[in-house]
């Protein structure tokens, strides 16, 4: 036998061994599937892919969507969200009432509820949580730690920062099965705000035992023992384990007051890459993931996967910076509004089911006005307005972000192209300025005055116009480049309305005013969606993405 023949034989042997290895692998994977079908341990587990690791499990310190998603399974607030809607509903409080001056809210608490550590949920526990937030100081007052508390309650008991001394919260009184929260001044959004997971009720015993407000050995309060290993609430699932970067495991809470969930175990695993999440769902390794790329929707539904749209609680707008002399002219801004064909932008660049926007707040939000000034697609009128303003043939700067996909702005590059074409059609020249989303683009829009037209938006964290109009138009910002004291005062008045009805009326007025002032053009409310394996049933999407998984079921 010649050496060459030996070599070739060896090569064949190697190839054969590789083939064999793959074949064994395939057998073993089939074995795995059979185990599942036979009702093995895998059947009762819901595996969800998160895009990033939760920052912390203590919901009071986080605002990111992955932390919130987990917190919604472990914790509950006094107020919850009616499934499938953005409406506040009874949670750990069965009902509530308020005094006419809007300063005192009394909550009747649900009876017989226990935290997962066995301690009772009662009026003292509620007050303990409110007092905990109110008394935070030092590094706990940093914007990235207590962001949502600052946004809603505006300040702390004491602070070195004068801007953080004007707390809305004043005191909490426990009265048997009821709790009364007293405010320093009226705040119309208190009820929807209390449904935010940051204000969920946590076990005072566990908070104390594991020193929830102490940075601990890690040096950061978000990574201390409580927040990474002992989050304790009243929700349908219990924390079991968290292997950083790999998986986070939750178990059904056998003592849940609403009945034990149908699924025994939840595993949240981390897959940062969007295509990798899609492929993991297709291969059956995960049962679901959030924020499906619009381009993948059709392929997934065609292959039998569930793609569930969420009613949008968001806004995508085209901002017009009035620090730019060209855009400071209302005639130019109106011309641009008439130049836009929102329906075309929606159908060309946004997910199916998306509707064009008429206001800066989405329709389900309290404060959405009955009617506002509208600017129909009318190129002739746009040209006429530009002529009047002497702006025909002028160049407008158009900033847009690259390399990002936000729920309210899935493909900014495409949206930019559609709008540019429409602007050029009415005789404007466009100077395109693309920049990387974070931090370059955000910096350009939020901190530098040299931007022109730009794409931005936001997703609501609660059912209140505060998170839209309040944040966008509450004061003078570099982003919009205009000063309008009257508008800012109207926003402040709406924010401090005495109750939801009054707040709705006031914000509706602001929304109307805005569409006359036209600081920007609301473009659309893009529909975000979630993908699920066909074996999962009972998933009801929430506009606030505040889904609780206690009613999910796994088929077969």
């Amino acid at each position: 036998m010649s050496p060459t023949t030996t070599r070739i034989r060896r090569l064949i042997a190697v190839a054969g061994a590789t083939g064999l290895a793959l074949a064994i692998t395939s057998c073993s994977s089939e074995r795995g599937t059979q185990k599942t079908a036979a009702g093995g341990d895998k059947a009762g587990t819901f595996v969800f892919a998160a895009a990033s690791e939760p920052v912390a499990l203590d919901p009071a310190f986080v605002a990111d969507s992955e932390s919130t998603r987990v917190a919604n399974q472990i914790f509950e607030g006094l107020v919850s969200i009616k499934p499938g809607t953005a409406e506040p509903a009874p949670g750990l409080a069965t009902s509530w009432s308020q005094t006419d001056d809007g300063l005192n809210y009394t909550f009747q608490l649900r009876k017989g509820v226990k935290f997962s550590d066995g301690t009772p949920f009662d009026a003292e526990a509620v007050c303990f949580n409110f007092e905990r937030w109110y008394n935070w100081n030092g590094p706990l007052q940093a914007e990235n730690i207590s962001n949502l508390y600052q946004l809603v309650f505006a300040g702390f008991k004491t602070s070195d920062n004068p801007a953080l001394t004007k707390s809305i919260y004043k005191s909490c009184a426990a009265e048997g099965d009821a709790v009364t929260i007293t405010l320093t001044r009226p705040y119309g959004s208190l009820i929807p705000a209390l449904a935010i997971s940051s204000f969920a009720m946590q076990s005072p015993a566990a908070l104390k035992q594991y020193k929830a407000d102490d940075p601990g050995a890690s040096g950061d309060v978000r990574r201390n023992e409580y927040s990474s290993a002992h989050p304790t609430g009243t929700g349908p699932y219990l924390f079991e384990s968290w292997e950083k970067g790999q998986r986070l495991t939750l178990r059904a809470n056998p003592g849940y007051w609403g009945g034990k969930p149908k699924i025994d175990k939840i595993v949240v695993r981390i897959i940062p890459d969007g295509t990798a999440r899609l492929q993991a769902l297709q291969s059956g390794e995960i049962d679901g993931y959030d924020l499906v790329a619009p381009a993948d929707v059709q392929g997934l539904s065609g292959a039998g996967f569930q793609v569930l749209p969420r009613e949008p609680l968001n806004i995508l707008y085209l901002g017009m910076n009035q620090a730019d002399p060209l855009l400071a002219d209302i005639r130019v801004r109106k011309a641009i509004a008439h130049a836009l064909d929102k329906q075309a932008i929606v159908s060309q660049t946004l997910p199916a089911g998306t509707k064009p926007a008429e206001q800066f707040i989405p329709p389900p939000v309290n404060g959405y006005a009955d009617s506002v000034a509208t600017y129909d697609h009318d190129p002739a009128k746009a040209k006429k307005l530009l002529e009047e303003a002497g702006a025909v043939g002028k160049t407008v700067t158009f900033n847009y972000p690259t390399g990002t996909s936000r729920p309210y702005m899935p493909s900014p590059e495409d949206t930019f192209v559609a709008i540019r074409t429409q602007l050029e059609a009415v005789g404007l020249k466009v100077n395109a300025v693309p920049e990387k989303w974070s931090p370059e683009y955000l910096e350009r829009i939020k901190a530098k005055t040299d931007h022109g037209l730009y794409l931005l938006g936001g997703t609501g964290i609660m059912n209140s116009a505060d998170t839209f109009l309040g944040i966008f138009f509450g004061r003078k910002t570099v982003e919009w480049g205009f000063e309008d004291k009257k508008l800012f005062e109207s926003v402040a008045a709406a924010r401090s309305a005495r109750n939801l009805t009054e707040q709705g009326e006031k914000y509706a007025t602001v929304s109307k005013e805005l569409m006359d002032l036209l600081p920007g053009i609301p473009v659309a409310h893009p529909v975000p969606s979630l993908a699920l394996s066909p074996r999962i049933s009972g998933y009801v999407t929430s506009p606030l993405a505040a889904e609780v998984w206690n009613n999910l079921q796994i088929k077969g």
């Binding site: 978000r222 897959i271 940062p272 993991a280 291969s283 974070s438 931090p439 910096e443 901190a447």
Partner: protein, 334 residues
């Protein structure tokens, strides 16, 4: 030999200091404000200023650098501004995943690349030669992430043989004493866990190993061809030595020198490739974390991780030099 290694190690220190300074300046020249990246689109200027103050980003650059060096001397690389986790901890937590991937990728490239390159050289001009040269050209030009998606589509989604992402089935409860999952399974005797981890490693190793494999095939082939035409090979043949002895002692030993240099150089490319591979396969290694850190301008993480990677790169190259000395006695004198 010990003196040689010590001298080389001593040289690493000034290199790392220089690198730290360069990196420090370069990171701060990048446009953008890490606090803004952290707080997102709804941040207020006051909030951003407070966060910048908290992390000392409002101090002067020389001051920041001195503080950084002071902490470095105490073995403290700071904490991530995004998650608050200490940089050293997060590196150690993720390093095993990267080691496992790099060893698998490079191992695949070496184990397959050297024999293939050798065979291609022996059968120069034959179909195997054309095939391996053509395939290796393809291996170099196909981007890692594209190859990764393609491999996943074929082997995981179409054929269903292998998993698409992660290091182990998340429904398995395995113990991880070392963090190297395959080894862990073997050490603890949890064979199903080891097997599962290995299955998760196959596609990432193929994706990451493709480029080094291609390069090793080509270098081995060229090097073997060159050595085979050397006079000493002809002499050896004339002496009547068997083919096996000529191949082992004369051809391979000499031909492997450039190959081992290439492998050392590939270690750097491998770490770069790991950033993409780990991200696409959700392996949660050093590379994936670095990718996230770049997107958030997480200075402490970037600074710390690049420093660690530089140290590893230096060590790998030192090992290559040592292997040189083992293969080639002449190198020991240098």
């Amino acid at each position: 030999m010990i003196a040689f290694v010590a001298r080389r190690l001593a040289l690493v220190v000034p290199v790392l200091l220089g690198l730290s300074l360069l990196l420090f300046v370069w990171l701060r020249l990048l446009p953008g404000d890490p606090a803004r990246a952290l707080l997102g689109e709804r941040a207020t200027q006051e909030g951003i200023d407070r966060v910048n103050h908290l992390y000392g980003f409002d101090r002067s650059l020389p001051e920041q650098f001195l503080l950084f060096l002071g902490r470095l001397a105490r073995g403290d690389l700071g904490s991530s501004i995004r998650t608050g986790q200490s940089v050293v901890d997060s590196f150690l937590e993720r390093f095993p995943a990267t080691v496992e991937l790099a060893v698998a990728g490079l191992g695949l490239a070496v184990v397959a690349g050297i024999p293939l390159g050798y065979l291609a050289a022996r059968r120069r001009g034959g179909p195997l030669d054309h095939l391996s040269v053509g395939a290796s050209l393809l291996g170099v030009v196909v981007p890692v992430f594209f190859l990764a998606y393609l491999l996943k589509y074929v082997f995981a989604i179409r054929l269903g043989w292998l998993p698409t992402a992660g290091r182990q089935d998340v429904r398995l409860d395995a113990t991880h004493p070392t963090g190297l999952y395959v080894l862990d399974g073997v050490l603890t005797g949890e064979w199903d866990a080891a097997w599962d981890a290995l299955r998760h490693l196959i596609l990432p190793a193929m994706a990451l190993g493709a480029i080094p494999l291609a390069i090793i095939v080509r270098i081995t082939r060229a090097s073997v061809l060159e050595v085979m035409n050397e006079d000493f090979v002809r002499t050896a043949r004339a002496k009547g030595l068997t083919r096996a002895v000529i191949r082992r002692r004369h051809v391979m030993r000499n031909a492997l020198l450039p190959v081992s240099t290439t492998i050392g150089l590939q270690a750097g490319a491998l770490l770069a490739g790991a950033v993409l591979t780990e991200t696409v396969f959700a392996l949660n290694g050093v590379g994936e974390f670095l990718f996230t850190a770049v997107n958030h301008l997480d200075y402490p993480v970037l600074q710390g991780f690049v420093l660690f990677i530089a140290v590893i790169y230096a060590i790998v190259n030192l090992l290559v030099d040592v292997s040189y000395a083992v293969i080639d006695p002449r190198a020991r004198q240098r």
